[in-house]
Symmetry: C2
Subunit: 106 residues, 2 copies
């Protein structure tokens, strides 16, 4: 999750950005289940703690995977929308889905 | 990394097993760079701490991703070899490699 790249390996660099469980589950919800609002992300079945969700959303905006789109003023509210960069993560999540389905049966 | 599945989502279940940065880097080394001995895993460019490596190898054996194969007696020494189950992780690591190469340039 740190932006410092400790090696030039592209796998390691990807993991530096999104290599923790909750970050990838947040991106799963954004990309696969079209979660947008904080409340929608919070409803995931893995019961992400609120503080962890707030932290991961903030980091994902900072690292350019999500962008905040305002949809209401007074009070200001916004949605979190996956960027083009984030969409390139889809094959990673799909590969995990396939692995999970095939190998973790039962 | 906990074996308890907190949801039925196959992505979440995969992440329960291998969803931390070091675990996936250890599996990268086993699957892509054919690391076998503790010393070989320890040489990775990300400088995995020795205690973390020992913990992750132990867990990966427990969860059936690596198997210990003895190659010497007195003193007993063994290699860590990827199981068939682990080989199914290759597409996940390859998808991360592709993402890293494409999106994290420069």
């Amino acid at each position: 999750m740190t932006p410092s790249h400790r090696s030039n390996c592209p796998v390691a660099r990807t993991l530096d950005l999104v290599g923790d469980r909750w970050t990838l589950l947040v991106m799963r919800d954004a990309l696969m289940f079209k979660a947008k609002s904080f409340a929608e992300f919070e409803q995931n079945p893995e019961k992400i703690p609120t503080s962890v969700l707030a932290d991961r959303l903030k980091r994902l905006v900072e690292t350019g995977f999500l962008t905040k789109v305002p949809y209401q003023k007074k009070p200001t509210r916004h949605h979190y929308v996956a960027t083009e960069k984030a969409k390139a993560l889809r094959p990673v999540i799909q590969a995990m889905k396939k692995f999970g389905e095939a190998e973790l049966k039962g």
